[in-house]
């Protein structure tokens, strides 16, 4: 997920928030559809919603691999897919979690701790030669933090992929597809 690109410029990727029936195999259906049709996924996050009968899958898709319209329409053909919202990155709130273990000698550890504090990250574990930090926030913020940590030497890094919901201001625009689905 360290490949997650910057989202502030004109996006070459798009966020799909896909509401699905919370049933065995539904993630496999979605991911095998992407594989079968040759669509690329940047990141994918899935968890049950407030209603345990449904899960929400947040997929960041590469719209250069296929037109977004085709991806959405093909996803809709899955019987378990109930609703798809396209979230414009500029009009949605996004969050992602990152954990990173950084190689740092004890005398320099303070610099990394300071960096984590500036970014409002957390120290999760401390060793003699390394430190594990976490940060949740917008993907951009994570990108910046990751870049700064890189200078110290990242041993391991894991990002979750983003989750997103539409912004609540009046301009919030989600193109929602609910009843237009067939087949």
């Amino acid at each position: 997920m360290s490949m997650t690109p910057n989202t502030t410029s004109m996006p070459s990727h798009h966020i799909l928030s896909v509401l699905v029936q919370n049933r065995a195999g539904v993630l496999a259906r979605v991911s095998s559809l992407f594989a079968r049709r040759g669509y690329n996924i940047f990141s994918l996050a899935v968890a049950p919603t407030e209603d345990p009968d449904f899960s929400r899958i947040t997929i960041v898709v590469d719209v250069e691999s296929a037109p977004l319209e085709q991806i959405v329409k093909q996803l809709f053909k899955l019987i378990d897919v109930v609703k798809i919202s396209e979230l414009d990155p500029r009009r949605s709130v996004e969050r992602e979690l990152m954990m990173a273990t950084v190689r740092v000698a004890s005398e320099d550890r303070g610099q990394v701790v300071e960096l984590a504090n500036i970014f409002e990250g957390k120290i999760l574990a401390v060793g003699t030669e390394a430190i594990t930090v976490s940060l949740d926030g917008s993907p951009d913020k994570l990108d910046d933090f990751e870049e700064l940590l890189r200078g110290y030497g990242i041993v391991e890094l894991q990002r979750t992929g983003r989750v997103a919901l539409p912004k609540l201001d009046k301009e919030a625009r989600t193109r929602s597809h609910k009843n237009g689905k067939a087949s």
């Binding site: 559809l33 053909k77 109930v82």
Partner: protein, 584 residues
């Protein structure tokens, strides 16, 4: 009322309540419990010799009735043998229910005997599939499966049933329509076209100078042949019928141009190329129709009617997309056009276009060089004679290859649901089991299966099924002792370097093989034997008949748009090449 029955009893009862009259299947370990209550059911079970046969029979049944064909097989190898028919049905939008046995729920994931991940394997070749995890789920999942298979864009649905779910007791219930719909919150096919789009389409049609109705299999799925005829006659517009739509519009109708595409006739291909408006009804701009997409019908505006929204814009962006059932949309379109005409709108004069089209028809009829005395039989001649001598209402099934194209070209289809073939997947060996399924569904009709010698050897064993179950079909083998279509490509595109396409004319002995399977076998080697042999075959109705036609191996299918080329580059029959400029 709380009736306790086994999951197996519930499964068979659910199929009965879904009005299933025939199951094509073959039992085995995990599905065994379901075969016991079948003994007490009125449902007819047809015991096949290979599970693939059951799948194609179910498809043939569905092709000619519109009702879902049902296949019942066991787990593991039986399920993998079903993958081809499932994919075939998926590609051609055939409603089909496949029920597979599975190892008991406690054994799933342990690599148990005859275990395979059936739902995983079939996920991309079914419209939907489900693994049942408890006997209680059976009635709802069966109802969902029939609903999904037959509504929207039809397709195959697979139900995987573990053995313990068949053996366990459950409390019988039968879900209502509302309960089925509520259980599928994500499945709401749109059947009624958008009225503003239909108005826009009507406007484009009235303004078009060079329209063509491009008719696909969706018209047959929607039972829209009558509506199509009314529309075509109302706007007096030429009709092309794709491979999947042969029979949707009568070939004898003056507006019918026949089949377009890779082996379509020159008029149908060229009319689409030169058109200013393609009215696509239930077709999907398949690569075999469009040729090179960037050069396909470059000046045409597109009206695209399809029940599957994902087909809109997948290959060619429509000017007017209409998501809906072809019959409902065509009927609405007819009504709208009539209203516009009644309100003083007039249709643009298309007589110049139509005379141009008839000019092509005169110059470029389908053509083959008849054999001179002593020369080998021509497959096209055999097809013409088969059609000429066929009893009214005969259903024609075909395998895949040259004989399939000759069938579509030289048979004249007059009514819907008389043509059964494997279009999208191109499954060799389709015709014999599909013909058996068609004959089971329509015992009143004569069913001919046209097959190649290559195809026949893939599924011929199902003729044993036909004999034992007393399902008399007729098979015409076009034996050119080659994988003919591959041979044609090697001749034309690989400098006549023939690689692994020669099958041998003598082996197997098709007549003896037919006789060994309980059929009448007839061999035809010369033109004068053709008519008597066909007449004899048509007169035998108490068993299946196999007629082997020894045909010219050098015969090629023309016209042909080579793969990767545009339709303007269609290769005509060599005898018509000097007239090429008329296609401009």
């Amino acid at each position: 009322m709380t009736e306790q029955i086994t999951g197996a009893q519930a499964l068979i009862r659910a199929l009965e309540l879904e009005n299933v009259d025939t199951i094509f299947g073959l039992p085995g370990g995990c599905i065994l419990p379901a075969y016991d209550p079948l003994l007490d059911s009125h449902i007819r079970h047809i015991l096949v010799r290979h599970e693939q046969g059951a799948g194609h029979m179910a498809e043939g049944y569905a092709h000619v009735t519109g009702r879902p064909g049902v296949a019942l097989v066991t787990s593991g190898p039986a399920a993998t043998n079903m993958v081809t028919p499932l994919c075939d049905a998926y590609m051609d939008s055939i409603p089909m229910i496949c029920i597979t046995g599975q190892v008991p729920t406690s054994a799933i994931g342990t690599d148990a005997f005859q275990e395979c991940d059936t739902v995983g394997i079939t996920r991309s070749v079914t419209k939907h599939n489900e693994l049942i995890m408890s006997a209680d789920e059976i009635p709802l999942i069966v109802r969902q499966a029939f609903h999904i298979a037959t509504t929207g864009r039809p397709g195959p649905v697979l139900i995987d049933v573990p053995k313990d779910c068949l053996q366990n007791m459950m409390t019988w219930y039968w879900p209502t329509d509302e309960e089925v719909l509520e259980s599928l919150p994500g499945y709401k096919p749109n059947t009624k076209g958008h009225s503003r789009m239909i108005k826009e389409a009507a406007r484009l049609i009235l303004d078009s100078k060079q329209p063509v109705l491009y008719v696909g299999g969706g018209v047959l799925k929607a039972r829209a042949a009558d509506a199509l005829r009314e529309l075509a006659e109302l706007i007096n517009t030429p009709v092309v019928t794709t491979l999947m739509a042969r029979g949707a519009f009568p070939d004898s109708h003056p507006l019918c141009l026949g089949m377009p595409g890779m082996h379509g006739n020159a008029t149908a291909i060229t009319a689409m190329q030169k058109s200013d408006l393609l009215i696509n009804l239930g077709a999907r701009f398949d690569d075999r129709i469009t040729g090179k997409v960037s050069t396909f019908a470059p000046d045409a505006k597109i009206i695209h009617v399809d029940i599957d929204p994902a087909e809109q814009g997948k290959v060619r962006r429509p000017d007017v997309p209409i998501v809906g059932d072809c019959r409902l949309v065509i009927e609405e379109l007819v009504k709208t056009i009539k209203e516009m005409l009644a309100n003083g709108d007039a249709q643009t004069d298309i007589s110049a276009w139509k005379s141009r089209v008839s000019g092509w028809q005169e110059q470029f009829p389908l053509f083959y060089s008849p054999s001179e005395p002593g020369e080998a039989l021509k497959p096209q001649f055999c097809l013409e004679k088969l059609h000429e001598l066929a009893p009214a209402g005969t259903i024609l099934c075909s395998g895949v290859g040259q004989h399939q194209m000759f069938s579509s070209q030289f048979w004249k289809f007059e009514e819907p649901y008389t043509w059964v073939n494997s279009g999208g997947l191109g499954t060799m060996g389709f015709s014999i089991p599909a013909a058996i399924g068609a004959k089971v569904a329509r015992p009143d009709r004569t069913v001919w299966a046209v097959d190649g010698d290559g195809c026949f050897q893939m599924t011929a064993q199902e003729l044993v099924t036909a004999s034992v179950e007393r399902i008399p079909i007729k098979v015409a083998i076009m034996n050119n002792s080659y994988l003919g279509m591959v041979r044609q490509w090697q001749e034309m595109f690989y400098d006549e370097r023939y690689s692994e396409v020669y099958l041998s004319p003598e082996l197997p002995d098709f007549v003896k093989w037919a006789e060994a399977m309980g059929c009448v076998g007839i061999r035809v080697e010369s033109p004068e034997e053709v008519e008597p042999a066909i007449a004899l075959a048509n007169s035998i109705n108490d068993r299946s008949v196999v007629v082997e036609f020894r045909v010219d191996a050098g015969e090629k299918v023309f016209p042909m748009v080579p793969a990767g080329f545009g339709n303007d580059d269609v290769l005509l029959h060599p005898n018509q090449n000097d007239r090429r400029e008329f296609l401009r």
